[in-house]
Symmetry: D2
Subunit: 100 residues, 4 copies
Protein backbone atom coordinates (compact mmCIF):
# COMPACT_ATOMS: atom_id res chain seq x y z
CA UNK A 1 0.00 0.00 0.00
CA UNK A 2 2.73 2.49 0.78
CA UNK A 3 5.47 3.63 -1.49
CA UNK A 4 5.96 6.84 0.46
CA UNK A 5 9.38 8.38 0.51
CA UNK A 6 9.90 7.72 4.22
CA UNK A 7 8.81 5.69 7.22
CA UNK A 8 9.06 8.50 9.74
CA UNK A 9 9.07 12.30 9.80
CA UNK A 10 12.56 13.76 9.46
CA UNK A 11 12.19 15.25 12.94
CA UNK A 12 10.50 12.87 15.43
CA UNK A 13 7.28 14.14 17.03
CA UNK A 14 7.73 15.01 20.71
CA UNK A 15 5.48 13.36 23.27
CA UNK A 16 3.58 16.62 23.69
CA UNK A 17 3.02 16.90 19.98
CA UNK A 18 1.79 13.32 19.79
CA UNK A 19 -0.53 13.83 22.73
CA UNK A 20 -2.07 16.95 21.22
CA UNK A 21 -2.91 15.19 17.94
CA UNK A 22 -4.13 12.03 19.67
CA UNK A 23 -6.43 14.10 21.88
CA UNK A 24 -8.00 15.69 18.83
CA UNK A 25 -8.42 12.28 17.21
CA UNK A 26 -10.00 10.87 20.37
CA UNK A 27 -12.53 13.68 20.25
CA UNK A 28 -13.24 12.86 16.61
CA UNK A 29 -13.59 9.18 17.50
CA UNK A 30 -16.17 10.21 20.10
CA UNK A 31 -18.03 12.25 17.51
CA UNK A 32 -18.15 9.23 15.19
CA UNK A 33 -19.59 7.15 18.02
CA UNK A 34 -22.08 9.95 18.65
CA UNK A 35 -23.38 9.57 15.12
CA UNK A 36 -23.84 5.84 15.64
CA UNK A 37 -26.05 6.70 18.60
CA UNK A 38 -27.99 9.21 16.51
CA UNK A 39 -28.62 6.55 13.88
CA UNK A 40 -29.70 4.14 16.58
CA UNK A 41 -32.14 6.68 18.02
CA UNK A 42 -33.42 7.30 14.48
CA UNK A 43 -32.59 10.99 14.67
CA UNK A 44 -33.45 13.49 11.95
CA UNK A 45 -31.24 13.20 8.85
CA UNK A 46 -30.24 16.87 8.77
CA UNK A 47 -29.01 16.77 12.37
CA UNK A 48 -26.85 13.78 11.48
CA UNK A 49 -25.51 15.52 8.38
CA UNK A 50 -24.56 18.56 10.45
CA UNK A 51 -22.55 16.30 12.73
CA UNK A 52 -20.84 14.58 9.81
CA UNK A 53 -19.84 18.00 8.45
CA UNK A 54 -18.41 18.87 11.85
CA UNK A 55 -16.29 15.73 11.87
CA UNK A 56 -15.06 16.37 8.35
CA UNK A 57 -14.06 19.89 9.37
CA UNK A 58 -12.26 18.59 12.47
CA UNK A 59 -10.42 15.96 10.43
CA UNK A 60 -9.36 18.53 7.85
CA UNK A 61 -8.00 20.69 10.66
CA UNK A 62 -5.89 17.78 11.93
CA UNK A 63 -4.78 17.15 8.35
CA UNK A 64 -3.71 20.75 7.87
CA UNK A 65 -1.71 20.79 11.08
CA UNK A 66 0.06 17.58 10.03
CA UNK A 67 0.69 19.10 6.59
CA UNK A 68 2.14 22.26 8.11
CA UNK A 69 4.51 20.26 10.30
CA UNK A 70 5.39 18.11 7.30
CA UNK A 71 6.39 21.14 5.23
CA UNK A 72 8.25 22.77 8.12
CA UNK A 73 10.33 19.65 8.77
CA UNK A 74 10.33 16.87 6.15
CA UNK A 75 9.90 19.09 3.08
CA UNK A 76 12.24 21.78 4.41
CA UNK A 77 14.94 19.25 5.22
CA UNK A 78 14.63 17.71 1.76
CA UNK A 79 14.95 21.16 0.18
CA UNK A 80 17.96 22.01 2.34
CA UNK A 81 19.70 18.84 1.21
CA UNK A 82 18.95 19.61 -2.41
CA UNK A 83 16.32 16.91 -2.81
CA UNK A 84 13.17 18.94 -2.61
CA UNK A 85 11.47 18.06 -5.88
CA UNK A 86 10.41 14.49 -5.13
CA UNK A 87 9.13 15.45 -1.68
CA UNK A 88 7.22 18.40 -3.10
CA UNK A 89 5.58 16.20 -5.73
CA UNK A 90 4.63 13.69 -3.05
CA UNK A 91 3.12 16.57 -1.07
CA UNK A 92 1.13 17.82 -4.05
CA UNK A 93 -0.32 14.33 -4.64
CA UNK A 94 -1.60 14.09 -1.10
CA UNK A 95 -2.91 17.68 -1.18
CA UNK A 96 -4.92 16.86 -4.31
CA UNK A 97 -6.43 13.82 -2.67
CA UNK A 98 -7.12 15.86 0.42
CA UNK A 99 -8.95 18.65 -1.39
CA UNK A 100 -11.60 16.29 -2.79
CA UNK B 1 -28.04 23.52 19.23
CA UNK B 2 -30.75 22.27 16.93
CA UNK B 3 -33.49 24.21 15.31
CA UNK B 4 -34.01 21.56 12.65
CA UNK B 5 -37.46 21.11 11.24
CA UNK B 6 -37.89 17.65 12.77
CA UNK B 7 -36.71 15.23 15.44
CA UNK B 8 -36.95 12.12 13.29
CA UNK B 9 -37.01 11.17 9.62
CA UNK B 10 -40.54 11.09 8.20
CA UNK B 11 -40.14 7.36 7.59
CA UNK B 12 -38.36 5.53 10.44
CA UNK B 13 -35.14 3.71 9.53
CA UNK B 14 -35.52 -0.08 9.56
CA UNK B 15 -33.20 -2.13 11.74
CA UNK B 16 -31.34 -3.30 8.63
CA UNK B 17 -30.85 0.26 7.46
CA UNK B 18 -29.58 1.30 10.88
CA UNK B 19 -27.19 -1.63 11.03
CA UNK B 20 -25.74 -0.89 7.60
CA UNK B 21 -24.94 2.73 8.52
CA UNK B 22 -23.65 1.83 11.98
CA UNK B 23 -21.33 -0.78 10.44
CA UNK B 24 -19.83 1.83 8.14
CA UNK B 25 -19.41 4.20 11.07
CA UNK B 26 -17.74 1.52 13.16
CA UNK B 27 -15.25 0.99 10.35
CA UNK B 28 -14.60 4.74 10.26
CA UNK B 29 -14.18 4.76 14.04
CA UNK B 30 -11.57 2.01 13.62
CA UNK B 31 -9.78 4.08 10.98
CA UNK B 32 -9.65 7.06 13.35
CA UNK B 33 -8.14 4.83 16.02
CA UNK B 34 -5.68 3.58 13.41
CA UNK B 35 -4.44 7.13 12.90
CA UNK B 36 -3.91 7.53 16.64
CA UNK B 37 -1.67 4.47 16.46
CA UNK B 38 0.21 5.92 13.49
CA UNK B 39 0.83 9.13 15.45
CA UNK B 40 1.97 7.10 18.40
CA UNK B 41 4.42 5.15 16.24
CA UNK B 42 5.62 8.44 14.77
CA UNK B 43 4.74 7.36 11.25
CA UNK B 44 5.52 9.43 8.16
CA UNK B 45 3.25 12.48 7.74
CA UNK B 46 2.20 11.67 4.17
CA UNK B 47 1.03 8.17 5.15
CA UNK B 48 -1.10 9.72 7.89
CA UNK B 49 -2.51 12.29 5.49
CA UNK B 50 -3.48 9.55 3.03
CA UNK B 51 -5.41 7.83 5.82
CA UNK B 52 -7.16 11.05 6.84
CA UNK B 53 -8.23 11.55 3.21
CA UNK B 54 -9.61 8.02 3.18
CA UNK B 55 -11.69 8.71 6.30
CA UNK B 56 -12.98 11.95 4.86
CA UNK B 57 -14.02 10.11 1.70
CA UNK B 58 -15.75 7.37 3.73
CA UNK B 59 -17.59 9.95 5.84
CA UNK B 60 -18.72 11.84 2.75
CA UNK B 61 -20.07 8.58 1.35
CA UNK B 62 -22.11 8.01 4.50
CA UNK B 63 -23.28 11.61 4.29
CA UNK B 64 -24.41 11.21 0.71
CA UNK B 65 -26.35 8.05 1.48
CA UNK B 66 -28.10 9.80 4.38
CA UNK B 67 -28.80 12.77 2.09
CA UNK B 68 -30.28 10.53 -0.59
CA UNK B 69 -32.58 8.85 1.92
CA UNK B 70 -33.50 12.26 3.32
CA UNK B 71 -34.56 13.52 -0.10
CA UNK B 72 -36.40 10.30 -0.96
CA UNK B 73 -38.42 10.40 2.27
CA UNK B 74 -38.42 13.60 4.34
CA UNK B 75 -38.07 16.06 1.45
CA UNK B 76 -40.42 14.09 -0.81
CA UNK B 77 -43.08 13.85 1.90
CA UNK B 78 -42.81 17.58 2.56
CA UNK B 79 -43.21 18.30 -1.16
CA UNK B 80 -46.20 15.96 -1.42
CA UNK B 81 -47.91 17.76 1.45
CA UNK B 82 -47.26 21.13 -0.19
CA UNK B 83 -44.60 22.19 2.29
CA UNK B 84 -41.46 21.56 0.29
CA UNK B 85 -39.81 24.98 0.34
CA UNK B 86 -38.68 25.11 3.96
CA UNK B 87 -37.36 21.55 3.83
CA UNK B 88 -35.50 22.25 0.58
CA UNK B 89 -33.89 25.35 2.07
CA UNK B 90 -32.85 23.36 5.12
CA UNK B 91 -31.35 20.76 2.78
CA UNK B 92 -29.44 23.41 0.83
CA UNK B 93 -27.96 24.82 4.04
CA UNK B 94 -26.60 21.47 5.08
CA UNK B 95 -25.33 20.72 1.56
CA UNK B 96 -23.38 23.98 1.56
CA UNK B 97 -21.78 23.14 4.89
CA UNK B 98 -21.08 19.66 3.62
CA UNK B 99 -19.29 20.76 0.46
CA UNK B 100 -16.67 22.73 2.36
CA UNK C 1 -22.04 13.54 -23.61
CA UNK C 2 -25.45 13.97 -22.08
CA UNK C 3 -27.80 11.29 -21.00
CA UNK C 4 -29.59 13.59 -18.57
CA UNK C 5 -33.24 13.00 -17.89
CA UNK C 6 -34.34 16.22 -19.58
CA UNK C 7 -33.41 18.94 -22.04
CA UNK C 8 -34.97 21.79 -20.07
CA UNK C 9 -36.04 22.57 -16.52
CA UNK C 10 -39.63 21.58 -15.83
CA UNK C 11 -40.46 25.25 -15.25
CA UNK C 12 -38.76 27.59 -17.75
CA UNK C 13 -36.45 30.24 -16.28
CA UNK C 14 -37.94 33.76 -16.49
CA UNK C 15 -35.91 36.46 -18.23
CA UNK C 16 -35.13 38.02 -14.85
CA UNK C 17 -33.86 34.73 -13.51
CA UNK C 18 -31.70 34.20 -16.58
CA UNK C 19 -30.31 37.71 -16.34
CA UNK C 20 -29.39 37.32 -12.67
CA UNK C 21 -27.41 34.13 -13.30
CA UNK C 22 -25.79 35.47 -16.47
CA UNK C 23 -24.68 38.59 -14.58
CA UNK C 24 -22.98 36.46 -11.96
CA UNK C 25 -21.30 34.40 -14.65
CA UNK C 26 -20.11 37.52 -16.46
CA UNK C 27 -18.49 38.66 -13.23
CA UNK C 28 -16.82 35.27 -12.90
CA UNK C 29 -15.66 35.49 -16.52
CA UNK C 30 -14.11 38.86 -15.66
CA UNK C 31 -12.37 37.33 -12.66
CA UNK C 32 -10.90 34.57 -14.86
CA UNK C 33 -9.60 37.25 -17.26
CA UNK C 34 -8.19 39.06 -14.23
CA UNK C 35 -6.09 36.04 -13.40
CA UNK C 36 -4.73 35.91 -16.93
CA UNK C 37 -3.57 39.48 -16.41
CA UNK C 38 -1.98 38.55 -13.09
CA UNK C 39 -0.08 35.74 -14.79
CA UNK C 40 1.00 38.10 -17.51
CA UNK C 41 2.27 40.63 -14.96
CA UNK C 42 4.06 37.77 -13.17
CA UNK C 43 2.23 38.44 -9.94
CA UNK C 44 2.94 36.60 -6.70
CA UNK C 45 1.63 33.01 -6.64
CA UNK C 46 -0.30 33.37 -3.39
CA UNK C 47 -2.21 36.41 -4.68
CA UNK C 48 -3.20 34.39 -7.73
CA UNK C 49 -4.28 31.44 -5.58
CA UNK C 50 -6.45 33.71 -3.46
CA UNK C 51 -8.20 34.87 -6.63
CA UNK C 52 -8.69 31.32 -7.87
CA UNK C 53 -10.28 30.42 -4.52
CA UNK C 54 -12.61 33.38 -4.87
CA UNK C 55 -13.73 32.21 -8.31
CA UNK C 56 -14.28 28.69 -7.07
CA UNK C 57 -16.43 30.05 -4.24
CA UNK C 58 -18.42 32.22 -6.65
CA UNK C 59 -18.98 29.28 -9.01
CA UNK C 60 -20.11 27.06 -6.15
CA UNK C 61 -22.59 29.74 -5.14
CA UNK C 62 -24.03 29.79 -8.65
CA UNK C 63 -24.12 25.99 -8.56
CA UNK C 64 -26.02 25.95 -5.29
CA UNK C 65 -28.61 28.43 -6.52
CA UNK C 66 -29.13 26.32 -9.66
CA UNK C 67 -29.40 23.21 -7.47
CA UNK C 68 -31.95 24.84 -5.21
CA UNK C 69 -34.10 25.86 -8.17
CA UNK C 70 -33.69 22.38 -9.62
CA UNK C 71 -35.01 20.76 -6.44
CA UNK C 72 -37.82 23.27 -6.07
CA UNK C 73 -39.03 22.69 -9.61
CA UNK C 74 -37.70 19.68 -11.54
CA UNK C 75 -37.24 17.36 -8.58
CA UNK C 76 -40.46 18.48 -6.89
CA UNK C 77 -42.47 18.02 -10.09
CA UNK C 78 -41.01 14.55 -10.56
CA UNK C 79 -41.93 13.63 -6.98
CA UNK C 80 -45.45 15.00 -7.38
CA UNK C 81 -45.95 12.85 -10.48
CA UNK C 82 -44.69 9.78 -8.64
CA UNK C 83 -41.39 9.62 -10.52
CA UNK C 84 -39.04 11.06 -7.96
CA UNK C 85 -36.48 8.29 -7.58
CA UNK C 86 -34.67 8.58 -10.90
CA UNK C 87 -34.50 12.37 -10.61
CA UNK C 88 -33.21 12.15 -7.04
CA UNK C 89 -30.50 9.70 -8.08
CA UNK C 90 -29.49 12.00 -10.92
CA UNK C 91 -29.31 14.84 -8.40
CA UNK C 92 -27.14 12.83 -6.03
CA UNK C 93 -24.71 11.99 -8.83
CA UNK C 94 -24.20 15.63 -9.70
CA UNK C 95 -23.94 16.61 -6.01
CA UNK C 96 -21.16 14.06 -5.53
CA UNK C 97 -19.26 15.41 -8.49
CA UNK C 98 -19.85 18.93 -7.23
CA UNK C 99 -18.50 18.29 -3.74
CA UNK C 100 -15.10 17.22 -5.03
CA UNK D 1 -6.49 43.85 -0.32
CA UNK D 2 -3.09 42.29 -0.33
CA UNK D 3 -0.72 41.87 2.53
CA UNK D 4 1.07 38.98 0.84
CA UNK D 5 4.74 38.51 1.52
CA UNK D 6 5.77 39.41 -2.02
CA UNK D 7 4.75 41.12 -5.24
CA UNK D 8 6.31 38.58 -7.56
CA UNK D 9 7.42 34.94 -7.51
CA UNK D 10 11.06 34.55 -6.45
CA UNK D 11 11.85 33.13 -9.89
CA UNK D 12 10.06 34.98 -12.73
CA UNK D 13 7.74 32.87 -14.91
CA UNK D 14 9.15 32.27 -18.38
CA UNK D 15 7.07 33.28 -21.39
CA UNK D 16 6.32 29.63 -22.09
CA UNK D 17 5.13 29.07 -18.54
CA UNK D 18 2.92 32.15 -18.72
CA UNK D 19 1.48 31.07 -22.04
CA UNK D 20 0.65 27.58 -20.76
CA UNK D 21 -1.31 28.93 -17.78
CA UNK D 22 -3.01 31.65 -19.81
CA UNK D 23 -4.13 29.05 -22.38
CA UNK D 24 -5.75 26.99 -19.65
CA UNK D 25 -7.44 30.08 -18.25
CA UNK D 26 -8.72 31.06 -21.70
CA UNK D 27 -10.30 27.62 -22.01
CA UNK D 28 -11.92 28.10 -18.59
CA UNK D 29 -13.14 31.54 -19.66
CA UNK D 30 -14.73 29.88 -22.70
CA UNK D 31 -16.39 27.31 -20.45
CA UNK D 32 -17.87 30.08 -18.29
CA UNK D 33 -19.24 31.74 -21.43
CA UNK D 34 -20.61 28.35 -22.44
CA UNK D 35 -22.66 28.23 -19.26
CA UNK D 36 -24.07 31.68 -19.96
CA UNK D 37 -25.29 30.30 -23.28
CA UNK D 38 -26.79 27.27 -21.54
CA UNK D 39 -28.68 29.56 -19.18
CA UNK D 40 -29.86 31.64 -22.10
CA UNK D 41 -31.13 28.54 -23.92
CA UNK D 42 -32.83 27.45 -20.69
CA UNK D 43 -30.93 24.18 -20.60
CA UNK D 44 -31.57 21.47 -18.02
CA UNK D 45 -30.21 22.29 -14.56
CA UNK D 46 -28.22 19.08 -14.17
CA UNK D 47 -26.37 19.63 -17.45
CA UNK D 48 -25.41 23.09 -16.25
CA UNK D 49 -24.26 21.73 -12.90
CA UNK D 50 -22.07 19.15 -14.64
CA UNK D 51 -20.40 21.97 -16.56
CA UNK D 52 -19.88 24.04 -13.40
CA UNK D 53 -18.21 21.02 -11.76
CA UNK D 54 -15.93 20.69 -14.78
CA UNK D 55 -14.87 24.33 -14.49
CA UNK D 56 -14.23 23.96 -10.77
CA UNK D 57 -12.06 20.92 -11.47
CA UNK D 58 -10.15 22.77 -14.18
CA UNK D 59 -9.60 25.77 -11.90
CA UNK D 60 -8.38 23.55 -9.08
CA UNK D 61 -5.91 21.97 -11.50
CA UNK D 62 -4.54 25.40 -12.41
CA UNK D 63 -4.40 26.22 -8.70
CA UNK D 64 -2.44 23.07 -7.90
CA UNK D 65 0.09 23.72 -10.66
CA UNK D 66 0.59 27.28 -9.37
CA UNK D 67 0.94 25.91 -5.83
CA UNK D 68 3.52 23.35 -6.93
CA UNK D 69 5.60 26.01 -8.67
CA UNK D 70 5.20 28.25 -5.61
CA UNK D 71 6.60 25.58 -3.31
CA UNK D 72 9.40 24.66 -5.73
CA UNK D 73 10.56 28.26 -6.03
CA UNK D 74 9.23 30.83 -3.55
CA UNK D 75 8.85 28.50 -0.56
CA UNK D 76 12.10 26.64 -1.31
CA UNK D 77 14.06 29.89 -1.66
CA UNK D 78 12.62 31.15 1.63
CA UNK D 79 13.61 27.91 3.34
CA UNK D 80 17.11 28.04 1.85
CA UNK D 81 17.59 31.55 3.20
CA UNK D 82 16.39 30.48 6.63
CA UNK D 83 13.07 32.29 6.41
CA UNK D 84 10.74 29.43 5.65
CA UNK D 85 8.25 29.67 8.49
CA UNK D 86 6.36 32.80 7.45
CA UNK D 87 6.14 31.61 3.85
CA UNK D 88 4.91 28.18 4.94
CA UNK D 89 2.22 29.73 7.12
CA UNK D 90 1.13 31.93 4.23
CA UNK D 91 0.95 28.81 2.06
CA UNK D 92 -1.14 26.94 4.64
CA UNK D 93 -3.62 29.83 4.82
CA UNK D 94 -4.19 29.80 1.10
CA UNK D 95 -4.38 25.97 1.03
CA UNK D 96 -7.13 26.08 3.67
CA UNK D 97 -9.10 28.60 1.67
CA UNK D 98 -8.53 26.55 -1.43
CA UNK D 99 -9.79 23.29 0.04
CA UNK D 100 -13.23 24.72 0.83
Amino acid sequence: MTDSLHQHPSKPRSNDEKQAVVNRLKRIEGQVRGIQKMIDEDRYCVDILVQISAINAALKKVGFSITERHIKHCVSDAILSGEGDQTIEELMDVMKQFSK
